[in-house]
Amino acid sequence: MSDTTMRQPFGLRIASVSFLIFWSFLALFPLLWIFTMSFKLPLDAFSESALDVITGPITRERRGGISILDICIAGAIFYAILKVPGLFGRRAVRFFARKRAGLAVLGVAYAAWLYVLVTGFGVTGPSVLGALFGGLLVWLFGFSGEDDDEGGLLGTLLAAVFYVLAAGAGLWFVLPPLLSAVDSAALQIPLVDYLAHPLIGATTEHYMSVWFDRGFYRNFLNTMLVTAGVTTVSLTVGTLAGYGLARSTSTVAFWLLILALVFRALPHSVLVTGYLPPFIASRDILQPLWDAPIIGSFLGLFTATPPTLYGQPVAVIAVLVSINQPFTIWMLRSFFQSIPKELDEAARVDGCSDMEAFRRVIMPVMWPGVVTTGLFSFLLAYNDYLICSLLLNSQNQTMVPSITQFFNSETTTTDQVQAVAAAVSITAPLFLLVMAFQKQIVSGLTAGAVKG
């Protein structure tokens, strides 16, 4: 493709660039607007003047605000947080994975963080602690096997989680006192003090009341539980089924794919109608299993009586997976088909069993495809309203349906701004996720044949 064939006429270029600008403005405007609104008192947020919504004079008067200096410092810190993993991440993971001392340091840091988490936020239940500690153990021993896979997948994942948690805690506890200290210092210096005066009114009180008073953190944790469950199950089944179907030439495989398409075409509410009665009656349905001689005593270790699935995240995960699975299978299958068959065969002749060939040769090449498919699964579970609102009870509710609790017949303007703050809270993780995986997503979406 030469430069000349792709050259646009001047008029076309003007038109396409201006359309692009218009379109991004149109798409971004609502997000930016609710983001601005969520930091203002209701009087400012619903002010007639657009300028007042942005600068927030009443908020600035009553609650204070942020100065230009604050914006600069916070911006620099955010930039650093985003850039550090790219610059040092791989080396750090490799270091921690190889050196015993590094492992110890990371282990201690993890334990310290856990301690803060448990004591500081009063997370109840030793189960959470146990699960995290178990994860830590897996991570420590997971490293000892391979010596050269740059720290391994599990290590990278845990290091990333650790980094996000550490950065979040740092921002939460360190940034506000730091900013106010810098501001008060700068106010003493003539001329510079203009930069340190509060310029834009801002308050985080809506976020505080949404997340803690109204218990939005519980909805957040539920969303994480549901999305993690849906993504894990969809990807596990999807990669295995996609690989099998991509390599199979039998007619059964073809009909399975067609059947999957039919399931994909079903309206979501139809699936819920089908699932709802067994979920409500699950205690009676499952009772025979608990009464069975050996299985029963084993299951009895977990709960004395069979659970009622209705209202539990497990039920939502099951329904969302069955909605999502056809799509993941089709998408992953087409990714697998773009991988030449010689790769499997070379691996098998080189000494891999079928499963090893899949794990050591095919999966590393498939990575962008898995990330892209995983993102779509995540988004489906994350954005789902219908199934979560129908199948979950209020204490297990996820974030998106829980926004409705802000609106009822006695809705005040404060409730509305809190709803806006909740909406921003739901959007923010998506941005972080897309930014973190942008490279894989792009290569996954544009991936053609993998040339060996």
Partner: protein, 350 residues
């Protein structure tokens, strides 16, 4: 020590027969080439030896041990693929090291063994590159190194040169021949290119439509083709095959009359001779026809003419000049002629 034995090996896909009851003995350290047109079952045969296809019938033995039910990884074979089959996410070094790693070979020997393989295929400058950053010839050398690093008992090569350009093909061919000689490993090599087969092989197996046509050294196959298929497949240009009648040592066909053939056979036959054994004469010859076309090859000129129900190629000196349509005569002595049965195509011994 690895001999390979195929006993009555058959491959069937539903009604279609890919390989028909194949019997073959491959000696230790032998370089055996499976040669045939596409779809003749040569690649299928090799994939059955590798374990990538299961044989519908028959036994495959490597080193005297039946391997039909073994996974490819347990057969101790190494394979080079037509489209390389390199792992795109690994560097050249890691690609070559992969078989050692998977087979849990003592890690302290890895560096030395990979280095030796890299030296053999002369890839020292490229070990840190990914396969995508290499040219076709370099990729195929990586694939070769990956095959030799483990020192397997059998090499299998599936048209390794067909994705390379003509010049690179000649040099890589020499490299493969040299490597096989140095490593002294039993090798099966699949190709549809008869020049590759002639230059590389200790023995050639010519296959067509799933069946073996002839097994022999390149010279045997060239000098004494077993049937018209082998005769028409080997050599460049291929052997001329004319149809006609023979009676009392005299072959007669359309515009052809050859005398003095040492045979008692009578009736319709196919007569074959090679272009390079015959000559052009302006005065008189066994074949008299008009020039159909002329091809100057540099060291000689190939003259094509219509006679005996076929297009014949005859070698002429490079100074030979004629225009299409000129009458010419070809001299074909009885000694250079091969006779084949007109219906079965089998060779008729004099």
């Amino acid at each position: 020590m690895a001999t390979i034995t195929l006993r009555g090996v058959t491959k069937r896909w539903g009604q279609f027969i890919g390989v028909k009851s194949l019997d073959l003995e491959i000696a230790d350290r032998e370089f055996l080439v499976l040669l045939g047109p596409s779809g003749c079952g040569k690649t299928t045969t090799m994939r059955m030896v590798a374990g990538l296809e299961t044989a519908s019938e028959g036994d495959i033995l490597i080193g005297g041990k039946r391997v039909n039910d073994l996974e490819p990884k347990d057969r101790d074979v190494a394979m080079v693929f037509q489209s390389y089959g390199l792992y795109p996410n690994l560097t050249v070094w890691e690609n070559i090291r992969f078989p050692l790693k998977v087979r849990k070979v003592d890690p302290s020997t890895h560096t030395e063994r990979v280095q030796r393989a890299v030296d053999m295929v002369e890839l020292n400058d490229f070990v840190h590159r990914k396969p995508a950053e290499l040219s076709g010839g370099q990729r195929q050398r990586v694939a070769l190194a990956r095959a030799i690093v483990r020192e397997p008992t059998v090499f299998l090569m599936d048209e390794p040169l067909s994705n390379l350009d003509a010049k690179l093909r000649v040099s890589t061919r020499a490299q493969i021949k040299n490597l096989q000689h140095r490593l002294a490993t039993t090798t099966i090599y699949v190709t549809h290119d008869q020049i590759e087969a002639m230059t590389l092989a200790d023995r050639v197996v010519v296959m067509n439509a799933g069946a073996v046509q002839q097994v022999g050294t390149p010279i045997e196959i060239y000098d004494r083709p077993a049937n018209t298929f082998v005769a028409g497949f080997i050599g460049s240009p291929a052997m001329n095959l004319l149809s006609g009648e023979i009676s009392e040592g005299v072959f007669t066909g359309d515009k052809v009359r050859i005398e003095g053939l040492a045979t008692n056979h009578k009736g319709p036959v196919t007569l074959g001779f090679r272009a390079e054994d015959s000559g052009i004469s302006t005065a008189a010859g066994e074949i008299s026809a008009q020039v159909y076309s002329l091809e100057l090859l540099g060291d000689c000129t190939i003259v094509t003419m219509h006679a005996g129900g076929a297009l014949l190629s005859v070698k002429a000196p490079k100074e030979f000049r004629a225009v299409i349509g000129d009458p010419v005569h070809a001299t074909v002595s009885a000694a250079i002629c091969h006779l084949f049965d007109a219906t079965t195509g089998e060779r008729i011994e004099p």
